[in-house]
Subunit: 438 residues, 2 copies
């Protein structure tokens, strides 16, 4: 069997999972791909102690702090980038492609940031850019969208793409603990990344959504243009109230809808990331802990739902290895389009949420004095937002919590009212609004 | 753009759906695959009137009653076989592969019947054998198992693989109608095939399970060795009782478990098809109507769940087209292993259900006279099967229905007891047993 030589850059959680899986499953992977796999290089700033702790058997890679020597090695067939972040990962990938190596990456931040450049370079170099591990961990969603559903038009996508935020929200609901405590638990279990605000503020979900939407739209859906709200303002009281009084669970969702066009002129996409109140009977409410779930609505294949582990070392490492098996089988081939998918040069127009219609849950802390409730109702009424249900509850320190659910309202109008409420005298803490999923 | 010429054999439900999708989505398919698609031949015994009724625009295929002329046309790149059944489909596929054409088929019956021969011929001919449409309609489960999860070991699979039987069971539960009426409704909606006993008796599910298990095991899991029970004996009263008294839904499930080995010596698989009583909160109980749902348990990627439309023309046609896009992109390539997957020559050993442990639901119609219940309990007790719950209800004509749920018992023992109950004097109609899903 001919060799298949891998250069691994980044020995963090996923990198270590990859090495462990590789040492466990080498015969299977070699059988499936028809080549002799070699881990030639492992590069990481702290590679020495990390590699020793791993205790991997049957592998003798060259260990380096600097990845540039691995990139210069002409024997390396594929570079696996698992360092994350934009720099120096982008330079690494571009250089690897330029020197004729295939690339596998789990770096959703970079992909969403430099999509056109990366895809273009892979196409020009006629090398494969594997990105299954960047989105939804062990779920083969990239493969399904790119290949399995290639004969269907995707109309919309809706899902839980961040396992950490979902773990935090389900822990808050089940154990009635604060967001801070839930996040600590996630970190303790190795589910939260160091920069956990990217998980809870929806930034990581937006990165992943950008990758999926770009893939489906055949053009770049810029991450920084995706309206993004996190779960930072959601308290355990809100979660419990939603569950007990409204029969709903809070979930951080990401989604997009195609409004027109297809791969070419007139492609219009409406993407968003924000928390939603999901009915408890809905499949997305049944996605607990670090799991991810993705709904895809298509014209021909109908509605589909994918569910699996979204966080953790092994699901992502398994996705990396799946891409590696594929590359190993296909590497003799100049792939159609190089990167394994085609990209249109037409720009993708992003639509705003303003014209969309939602029902909203609203929570305000107000001073417990006469007239506040009437003022709140006034602000909503003047914006044309009508109230369906209202709950008022005295809290400590002479304050009171107003919680309400509106009837359907246009986003634009509701945001105007919400802005007005923030400015209202007597409204104490930052008010919170969460859209309902109907 | 160079041409990509398709010969379609079989203009039934899926074939017609394929032509409709093709005429609707040609520019998209051509854009994604980088070739000019041509439907060169359409072959069907009644091709003339069927084609006219379709009113397809933009396509001028040669219409033939006999497919042999299409197979002799050297310009045809790929043959799509949608006639179903073993003969003459097998000869058609083998001849197509031998004459250098790729093949896409939705024929699960043939695949499960002639797996080693078909895979071997595709490998020798170095041609692609597309079979996504054979299992679970629009769900890309074949692609996911073959490629997305290629770096994981599948430990078990469990799912609803027959949309017709699932439609019948959910109609019985929701509308409280008999199985016969539900089946008529399915036929009226175009969901049931003519030979609907293959759906309700689990034979179709066994064909599909055989395909999935063979794919994962890397060897033939013979369909006729899969223990298979259908839903023929399940009455609307049983369905309602299960729902109201046990909080469970009846689902026709198919599954397998790997007991040892992997692609090579010692591969042992335990496959089965039978109805199960699924807790109402379980995701498989939420699979309604013609939908399919598949759980896959893997070592590295964790647990996964796939859900989508399992019956109907468009989901299957979309899967056929997905395979065609793939073949069109890859046809210049001699695929690794030819058929797109590797097969071991080692035999797959099938294990029996006898050693498994289940809880059972049991329903008997008995003459309403003293001592019958005691005899029933005696038979179960002597086999070592103990009763957890028992319900007795007088029915018309001086008869009574005994329904009970057992504690966990070995399959072997329960079947012995069940056989004894059938022979018992006073037991009127065929007794029914359904295993619980725990």
């Amino acid at each position: 069997m001919e060799p298949f030589r891998i250069g691994l850059v980044g020995l963090g959680t996923v990198g270590q999972g990859l090495v462990r899986l590789l040492s466990r499953s080498k015969p299977m992977l070699e059988g499936r791909s028809g080549a002799r796999w070699e881990l030639s290089w492992v590069c990481d700033r702290h590679v020495g102690p990390k590699w020793r702790r791993l205790g991997a058997v049957g592998m003798r890679p060259r260990l380096e702090k600097d990845f540039r020597r691995a990139l210069r090695d002409p024997a390396v067939d594929v570079v696996v980038e698992l360092i994350g972040g934009v720099a120096p990962a982008r330079g690494l990938i571009l250089q690897a492609l330029a020197s004729g190596k295939h690339v596998v990456t789990a770096n959703k931040q970079l992909l969403s940031h430099s999509w056109p450049q990366l895809v273009h370079r892979a196409q020009v170099a006629r090398r494969f850019l594997g990105l299954e591990a960047a989105v939804a961990g062990g779920i083969p969603i990239v493969l399904s969208l790119r290949q399995g559903l290639s004969a269907s038009r995707v109309r919309s996508l809706l899902g839980i793409l961040n396992g950490t935020a979902n773990f935090v929200l389900t822990q808050m609901a089940h154990r009635k603990i604060s967001q801070r405590e839930a996040l600590k638990e996630a970190q303790r279990r190795g589910l939260a990344e160091r920069r956990s605000w990217m998980d809870t503020e929806g930034v990581d979900s937006a990165h992943k959504l950008s990758v999926l939407a770009s893939l489906v739209a055949g053009g770049w859906v810029r991450c920084n243009r995706i309206p993004c709200e996190g779960i930072g303002g959601v308290s355990v009281e809100d979660v419990i109230f939603a569950q007990e009084k409204l029969g709903r669970a809070v979930r951080l969702l990401a989604g997009f809808r195609f409004l027109g066009g297809f791969r070419g002129e007139g492609v219009r996409v409406l993407p968003w990331v924000h928390p939603r109140l999901v009915p408890l009977g809905h499949p997305l409410a049944a996605v607990h802990g670090e799991y991810n779930g993705v709904f895809v609505e298509t014209d021909a294949a109908g509605d589909l739902f994918f569910y699996g582990k979204g966080a953790g070392a092994y699901p992502a490492a398994s996705a990396v290895l799946g891409d590696l098996v594929w590359i190993c089988q296909q590497r003799r081939v100049c792939l159609h389009g190089g990167a394994g998918f085609t990209q249109s040069s037409h720009p993708v127009r992003l639509e705003s949420l303003d014209g969309e219609v939602f029902r909203y849950f609203l929570r305000l802390q107000v001073g417990d004095r006469p007239g506040v409730l009437s003022k709140v109702c006034g602000v909503l009424g003047r914006a044309g937002v009508s109230i369906a249900e209202i709950f008022q509850e005295a809290t400590s320190q002479g304050a009171c919590a107003i919680r309400l659910v509106t009837h359907s309202a246009r986003e634009e109008r509701f945001q105007k009212a919400f802005h007005g409420l923030r400015l209202l005298r007597g409204v104490r803490r930052d008010p919170l609004s969460i859209r309902l999923l109907d």
